[in-house]
Symmetry: C2
């Protein structure tokens, strides 16, 4: 059973709950946008995903990408699908019209990639890197380099990579050793080895644009010595560069995406941006990239949920305690409370995830296009704080929730036939790449929250409480608890490892507050839940309250217990 | 890196904490057992596992079992390893000396299978079914049938299967449709299709003994119409029976174990036990079989922990907040709090799991061999109540904890090289087979706890509190909370689905109490923690308190909230 995009749920969140058409049309860049146009793009993208991409998921997993003497052969159908994809203009959806893009709101790119990831995570890895490369070249490359590469990357005619990781440098890019030697013509010759390069080599496009972190001669050690370079697979003269794919990895899943070991052997390229500012140039698009990974998680969880929900409405086993018996020798397993709980709980996660991700897509647009600076700053604050939370929360739930969906199928979930075990295997990597979930937690607490003593986060929470359609006492109380906890953490300067110990629970607790926030908005629109869908939304809402949110207390308790191990030497009475 | 059994930890729990040599020698059947003998068997089994079985794990996963026109070819080396295994007497370790066994305590079989599963889960599936088949034939087969098959199954010269599941009958065996037709010679001709039959066909042994659930003519529908039959692959005249393997499944993992679709096509066999008592005969050995699955979970988690621990002591990334810097450009990742927490937490689970599993192995022996009936009843009560808890708890932790261990390796965990992703894939099935974890929860609450109003469980908890080496106030208080909760559940006769809704959290909460119990015993022996190992035990103990046990409050809260949704119509003031 292939994944089937169902746009009604997403559209309900976009149009009714988040009211994005109205809010986006308030931005100059999107003044032309209206609900009809957005709905039309959403439905067309869903159709493309269903017709072209979803049917290639199984072959991508079973046949996978293969390596042959430096060439990478993609699974059957992948190239044709990709050619159709870029020629239909999908990669350029949210790119600037000045660069040949369509200038549509980021949320439509978000729904597109959510559906693509649900339908075929492996295939989607290839275009998934385009947006970051586009932004990187647009904002950092010289005019000459932009003239050569920006249009091709915006349109997706050429795919791109991010060459960061090296065998000894993963989470810690400061250890990167690849070297760039200046050439007399102003270009650079790169030497070094990179690993885990998604789409480092393939046959989807005629050229590949590599963005590579490397060190100039005499660059200082650590992250400040890193510069960014652009190395094309085929140079402007049509010659093959000295970039070699030495192997692709055997992985747990994601077999449709070649994970390449790349060797740069005096490969010639250009500096992008300023020397020593390579990491900064890459991190500029980190929020968009991490939102993208969160969307992968939401999509994969939705795909797994679809399969489990379909199975639960077809499989009969045993008598359920409250089922309506109709002449069958057993009841549908959806009638069994344990199955109902598993499915409704995932629904609660998916719906909240969509609200939060689409909301973040709005804020990415507002951060760029909002007319006044205060609005842009508020949008930027949301993006900075919400992004690591969403990346961590929804990639973990994609894996664990897809595993729960697998459980609904019992032994049939463990065999390949229904395709659900592939989602579990594919989802696992999302907890690792674009910064492991532990790195997200450190990013949130140590780099985003603590530097201003938690004031930014507190302002965000207050703004969200003020904007609720209905006041919510529980959410307010939890915001107070959170402010107090954050204050206590900020007060403690020692021991140095304390915030690192707290980071994972801190992210998780804040994430649960955000889930609750999302459902406050969805619940406030319960009068508009579509006919025939009342039960579906209501059950997910109830599942959130009963089985998801209680974890908040657990996280608070762990945080408090850890803080209590390190009492303040000079206690303040806050 | 192959799994390396480390018997010192297990032995510390067996000898010092549980004092099994002394307690076992109090049973007549094990009067000859002493610590030296037990340690010797433990170490020999570890050596066999390390030398013969562990090196075959990777090939079992990568090459796997294959099917060719009804034959199943096992991965290279599997047959030779199995022949060495049975010829060395390992399958007969705990079998009755009267049947050619060695009559050793069950705990030595437990440690053997824990290590085997850690080393090579796929290979271990084959002998893993022997014990149940042995007990089944021993206690239910006619003397003629026993004469033909008991010795061969006890020794493991012939392997055995359990043919239960059918395409439409998984958790609900009452739906089984395979039919058995009496033949004039007193035997039966079986017709039907079975799926998910582990080891239904293979080349490890010269014969395979199938135990098959089927229906006699005019048997009533449902579970009471099921009888048990023995159908050999090769009949006593040396003829191939009409049992066919039509295919093997493609699975998420466990590729070293062929999961067979079997067709019985007038296959001739014998009735085992009484007509209509087939399910009872199979369920007799359920406690031992489910303990076995819990041990698989513990073993797989230990195997994953070993790999992650080794990696964390070798990989350097970033500066850790409290590390001792010694001229390296980055610190060992074991110094990072998030990594330390992941690893120590798994250690806390593994140690508690071992204590609980070895303790259950003792109780299985006491249930058979204790001199007085009260002791046998108490042992039987432990087995009945603890077994579903351990099966569910440690299979879930095997999967989730192995995934956490994978996280320690980052991208290197997601690729096949380190072998840790195989453990995650292999472990996933343990949450499903031998009764899904949701079935375990229903078994615990609805079949074990509620029928006597919770009195048996309360007696068990009180007995455990009385037997603690040091009184533990927290454990006592939680036992009181649990008794009260159980009382409230038992009071409610309606709605009928209520206990089904509570079952999963009930099992989990009780499981956490049992983890705490296990660590009370381990902590009470802290003075005996081996030199150089103090930190290792202490960190695991601390991880339990900080990061595992807080979940107990979460479960209590969910149970209470669910009970509050269904107030008693005639409240009693208990």
């Amino acid at each position: 059973m292939d994944y089937q995009p169902r746009t009604a749920d997403a559209w309900f969140l976009i149009d009714r709950v988040l009211q994005l058409p109205a809010r986006l049309s308030g931005l100059n860049a999107h003044a032309e946008v209206d609900a009809d146009l957005m709905r039309q793009v959403l439905d067309e993208s869903a159709k493309f995903v269903a017709d072209v991409i979803a049917p290639l998921n199984r072959v991508g997993d079973e046949q996978g990408a293969s390596w042959d003497q430096g060439r990478v052969i993609m699974p059957p159908g992948f190239r044709e699908a990709y050619q159709a994809f870029w020629q239909a203009g999908w990669p350029a959806l949210a790119c600037d019209p000045a660069d040949g893009g369509q200038g549509l709101p980021t949320v439509l790119e978000a729904t597109l990639y959510e559906m693509l990831s649900a339908a075929n995570h492996g295939w989607t890895m290839a275009p998934g890197l385009l947006h970051g490369a586009y932004e990187c070249i647009k904002h950092h490359a010289s005019p000459e380099l932009r003239a050569l590469y920006l249009d091709k990357v915006a349109s997706g005619e050429w795919l791109a990579t991010m060459c960061l990781t090296e065998p000894h440098a993963g989470s810690d890019l400061g250890l990167v050793r690849t070297r760039a030697k200046p050439l007399p013509d102003g270009r650079y010759a790169l030497n070094g080895s990179k690993i885990f390069i998604s789409g480092g080599e393939h046959d989807l496009t005629d050229n590949i644009v590599h963005l590579v972190l490397a060190r100039l001669p005499e660059a200082p050690p650590g992250p400040k010595g890193l510069s960014l370079f652009l190395v094309p697979k085929i140079d402007p003269q049509g010659q093959r560069s000295a970039v070699h794919c030495d192997r692709i990895e055997e992985k747990m899943g994601l077999h449709g995406s070649p994970t390449c070991a790349m060797r740069f052997d005096d490969a010639v390229g250009w500096l992008v941006g300023e020397p020593g500012k390579g990491l900064g140039a890459m991190f500029l698009m980190m929020n968009a990239a991490r939102l993208h990974v969160a969307l992968q998680g939401i999509g994969l969880l939705d795909a797994a949920w679809q399969k489990a929900d379909a199975y639960a409405h077809e499989r009969r086993q045993m008598r359920a305690p409250m089922a309506h018996r109709q002449g069958h020798e057993a009841d549908l397993i959806i009638e069994h409370p344990a199955v109902r709980r598993l499915l409704d709980t995932q629904r609660a996660w998916i719906d909240a995830g969509r609200w939060l991700a689409y909301r973040t897509a709005l804020e990415l647009d507002r951060a760029k296009h909002a007319p006044d600076e205060a609005a842009r700053a508020s949008a930027q604050r949301w993006c900075a704080l919400a992004t690591p939370v969403l990346k961590s929360l929804f990639t973990q739930q994609a894996f664990e929730g897809a595993s729960q969906c697998l459980q609904v199928l019992g032994g049939h979930g463990y065999v390949r036939e229904w395709g659900i075990e592939q989602h579990v295997r594919d989802a696992r990597v999302t907890m690792i790449y674009e910064g492991t979930n532990e790195i997200q937690a450190i990013d949130l607490l140590l780099r985003k929250v603590l530097p201003d003593g938690g004031q930014g986060l507190q302002a965000l929470m207050q703004e969200e409480l003020n904007a609720l359609p209905e006041a919510d006492r529980a959410l307010e109380q939890r915001a107070q608890v959170w402010a107090e906890l954050t204050h206590q953490i900020a007060q403690r300067r020692e021991p140095a490892h304390l915030p690192y110990e707290l980071a994972d629970d801190y992210l998780r607790g804040l994430g649960l507050w955000m889930l609750q926030l999302a459902w406050c908005h969805i619940d406030a629109h319960r009068g508009e839940w579509p006919d025939g869908e009342q039960a579906r939304w209501g059950q997910a809402s109830s599942a959130l309250q009963r089985w998801v949110l209680p974890e908040w207390h657990l996280r608070v308790q762990i945080l408090r217990d850890t803080l209590a191990r390190h009492p303040l030497s000079h206690p303040e009475h806050a």
